[in-house]
Assembly symmetry: D2
Homo-oligomer: 384 residues x 4
């Protein structure tokens, strides 16, 4: 398969460009008989869509999704679900320099050299706009995971530039435009973003995602492990430069007794594994953390070259997110959900006749604190 | 495809268990006409094999590879290359507790619950021994990448537990048992490992891998990006908990002007991208960094449960690596090489008729320092 | 991958139902830089579309295709090409019996039992209408094959019910509503069809497809052979019950000296192989023949059961093709083209560095007659 | 994936050459917990192996299979099952002409031109010997299908050259060296073969394969239909030139009322569909028929060219099957079993929660005769 499909059995094929007529995806392999309509999908699209606060791009896109197939009388039929989102705000403009020169940090240079042709309008295929179909497909996956297994997939902003955000509660997340799990930091984040926009700069972010309720047994031993599939999906997202599972990079400095999670009949005593051992889910929370680089589209001058190979100076005006990480939380959730549904199906394909031979260990023993995904450079070992 | 295959067009299918009759792999899709014999493969296997120093497991395995197919009169034929390694040192022993109880941090519990059956001898399928076929296949990939494109894939140990190792030179790497790129740290590493073994503990590690000479244009825009494929391969390796490309997690705290790599006709001015933009190679060094957790097999007591779900205390004696990261360098190199050859083939499949429309930018401008893969918690932005 | 995608590197993912809002497909992996617009695709859709003569269904569908992505300034960009066809004539009606009972020969029973839900409107997903996206994708493949390699893919009706049609010339094919390669039989075919419609019956057909100009070397040795891929694609088409390559079933009664095609420097002396040996193209015409069963939708009474498992009598009124084979020629061409482009890309991925070691043998030696795909029960060995 | 793997979820990767050190395969995705040892596999290998009668090649190969992995304490573990067969009878000889010239009807020319290198020893990779690993894998599939679903996969020789063999009973099949389902024809077949060998000629054959007990619901609507997967597998077998499902090519001349199988609560009234409607199994017998071309290795003179492109005359002495179809029955069974297990797993992946909404219709109503796979040129419609 070429690269625009994600998943082996619940497969999402993504299409579209930022300023073409439409974007969308085809989901193939969805289990039949699940109630589904646009109403199930739109909320996650709305969480991701531009223009929801002054801290994100002001492009106006309603991101209205239309289900073109695969649903009959309100239920999935098991045949491909095509989802269509028309592009609306393709503000006519002169692309001048951008069409001719390669913006540093962008895919301009690599697309051009790979394909010999490049849709430069709004970044074309490399635009973060193309994450909308992923989010739409993820909403379908989330619904099934919740209905069939009680799995919940939730994410939050863990760091915005230099601002680390302590996890306080899931309830805080939808109550601010940053998906921050802590109401007390919101004012500081707003101030930081206002100053950043004023300076013409951009910043990076860290997003944590957690899947709760995943049964033990999803995943595979070698190569296509569950963690490998998660890493693939996350690193396949624009601007992501790092992925961690569980203790992540902090595990480099842990000792064996600190890292490995002890087990009791009452539950695991820690979760450095991030819910995955040997590529297979343990039944604990699956915890993932990703690093998102600062937006490359900034209005400050940068050195680059043009198509002729000549040096030029470029800066990028227009409507851009000063931190693409702000809108990344629903996308990361969608990606994790897509990986999980795929592995749920893979697991029952091969092991559908296996009855759990030992009673499942609870996700955590009483008294063990909630452990959202850690931060790599946390000075303390996670559970110490 | 089930999970035991890696790559779409240069596909490695891995088989075997630690204490079964043999391990090995089948490579399908290798380009024909390349000179190949066991002599090309054995050196990388020897770099990975156990027993090479007192700091790694003392299991005695020669890891002799036999080419069973796909080579005729010393050349690859384009048909599957089967590689076989017989297991030799399957020391007969009483697996007692290990057969009945689940070692914390190991795949024992997840395999058992997934499959309802588990080869507990030496970890069975979850043993790090199963990386040998990956290394063997990687040697084939490396040879082709070097011969066809001049690509070199090299790795080194960047951190051993708390000991960070400054990159000094590639020449140092083969000269010590740690793959450390710096001769001056070796004595300290040896002392650290000796103390660790004495204490019964284990430690984590960080490995950096760099591919030089990769042409611009390998990779894809969405989902199966080159960085996504790398993350998948690396996170699919036993004990890996984190993957970074380029600046990795350090990019969270970078500003836009710090992160995005400016371009001049003389070369890129930095490499925070780690050689990949928009999922496609830029022509710069591809830099990858991975976190390896501490070995879970330690001889100190750990709480766990047995197959009946009852609490037990377990400790693991026998021949184990106190830091699996020490032998991980050749494996990480192999994985990167396998991803690269796959994308080299994918690229020429689709874009074989594209002539580079703009002269390729050199990997780095004169005076820009060599940039091996960074460390996430580097206090300074990478190129500042 | 679930089943709705065709091809490994030039991958077509099909979606839609007969009476849903739209049908279409996404092509992933198309080589970049090829001029493409709706004008290239519409003609083949028009050849397939309903209502073009009194011998096919009278449903009115313009089958207007819209390119939603993957084309920029008139050229393919190498990113997914989404093709959309809105359904227009979804005549509101009472589906009564059809919604409740399973039409013999149709997919009603199997869809219902597999998925537990079934879009019964016009056959839903099992409608021949879903071949339109295949034809659209095939037009893209055909254009590239012609432009890049000079490959021509052409088909014709070889038999209509009991009426065998001798191949006369390609020029005749577009000049009649049957795709018959012989003008002299058209009147008889029309009379046959008129009588068939009057009787309420339906009939089967045989379609032959030929690809000329395919270079030697496309295909693979084992399992995914070129002929296997063709058989897969053809048997994946609604109503197809048999597939032959070259001499097909006639080869059962051939002797070794009759079947195997001798080679001379001036060309092959026959083409019983149908252009494929050992799963790889020879450079001769690739000749394929398929059997299409009679339409199952007939207005004569048939015994069946309903959803409750009770016996009922059913007959199917409405707008149906009395012979689906009549419109199958452009579809079979599209399928062959899709297989060929896929193997063209696969071949250059693996063997892009192989220079033809021996001068290619011409497709046929002078004086050897043109050999369109044979008929299985031809009493004479093909080239005798 | 390159071409040497068959199946999506139960995936067989084949390796080896006729005269290399070994042949074999890796099965990935086998359900865990099934009792398995070499004893389950060897009988089918023995049915296929050379030298069992004077009518097949006299090469001496015991075809002893060794299980290298994936089985622990007599049960499948769910991890890859590697099967190894050492080549024993690689009679040292001078390949002279064969090494330099291309045998008509063989893959010599196409392999050479595709890969630029060719293992000419015994046909190398294109040898029918490479069907042994397929048979071995098929035995595993058969065992699971039988144990889990009561599915039986059986085949027989339906035609040998001009000799059509009426189906008499399954019991006759193992009682003669031809797999003929009719004891009364055996003497005639032996006489025919003796005369054929004497003349230096070879002949074709037709094999029918039937799977009984397949539940309703396996397969998919578009492209990767169950019949498409069967056609792919069968046409991927050496020497196969045609594939039919159910009525096959006979359906071309059937009328709608003759072809479509009526349904009653007591069972289907005929089986022209061959057990598949809309790409999905109906619960009836799945009936498949394949055409096998005459062996190309004959000792009579044939015109061809050599590697320099010069005309030469070639003839093939040595140990060859005068009719490869004779040993093809167990191979065709294996291929059908491999397709079925794959679709069994695919089905429960997606539709594992669907409870059969309507009671399954019996395979056939009382009084409806047994219908093994038909012959294309049967003058009478199948059930008339």
């Amino acid at each position: 398969m070429p690269g625009s499909s994600l998943g082996k059995l619940f497969t999402v094929t993504n299409f579209g460009e930022s300023h073409g007529p439409a974007i969308g995806c085809v989901i193939d392999g969805c289990p039949p008989g699940m109630a589904l309509s646009e109403v199930d999908i739109q909320p996650d699209l709305d969480r991701r869509k531009p223009g929801t606060s002054r801290h994100v791009t002001q492009r106006r896109e309603e991101d209205r999704v239309e289900i073109l197939s695969g649903v009959f009388e309100g239920k999935t039929t098991g045949t491909p679900i095509a989802l269509l989102i028309r592009n609306e705000d393709q503000r006519s403009k002169d692309y001048g320099t951008i069409a001719e020169a390669f913006r540093p940090g962008h895919a301009d240079y690599t697309y051009w050299q790979k394909f010999g042709v490049r849709d430069y309008r709004g970044g074309g295929r490399s635009s973060a706009r193309l994450t909308a179909p992923t989010v739409a497909a993820g909403a379908v996956a989330k619904k099934w995971l919740q209905a069939r297994f009680g799995v919940a997939v939730r994410g939050y902003l863990a760091q915005l530039g230099p601002n680390r955000i302590a996890f306080e509660s899931w309830d805080a997340v939808p109550a601010n435009p940053f998906f921050a799990p802590n109401a007390s930091v919101v004012a500081a984040l707003e101030a930081y973003m206002d100053q950043l926009r004023k300076s013409g700069e951009s910043c990076g972010a860290r997003i944590n995602v957690v899947a709760s309720g995943v049964p033990v047994g999803w995943g595979e031993p070698i190569y296509d492990r569950l963690d490998a599939a998660i890493a693939h999906a996350m690193m396949g997202l624009n601007a992501v430069k790092g992925v961690e599972i569980g203790a992540g990079f902090a595990s480099v400095e842990q000792l064996g007794t600190q890292h490995s999670d002890e087990i009791t009949p009452q539950g695991f005593l820690s979760n450095n594994a991030g819910g995955i051992l040997g590529g297979i889910s343990t039944g604990q929370d699956i915890t993932v953390s990703i690093a998102i680089k600062p937006t490359s589209s900034i209005r400050l001058d940068r050195r680059t070259i043009d198509q002729a190979g000549e040096p030029v100076v470029i800066n990028t005006h227009g409507r851009h997110d000063p931190c693409v990480g702000i809108r990344a939380t629903p996308i990361a959730e969608a990606l994790l959900a897509l990986v999980l549904i795929d592995h749920a199906l893979l697991h029952r394909a091969q092991c559908g006749d296996v009855a759990l031979p030992t009673r499942a260990v609870p996700a955590r023993a009483t008294g063990v604190p909630l452990t959202p995904a850690p931060q790599a450079d946390d000075p303390e070992p996670l559970e110490a």
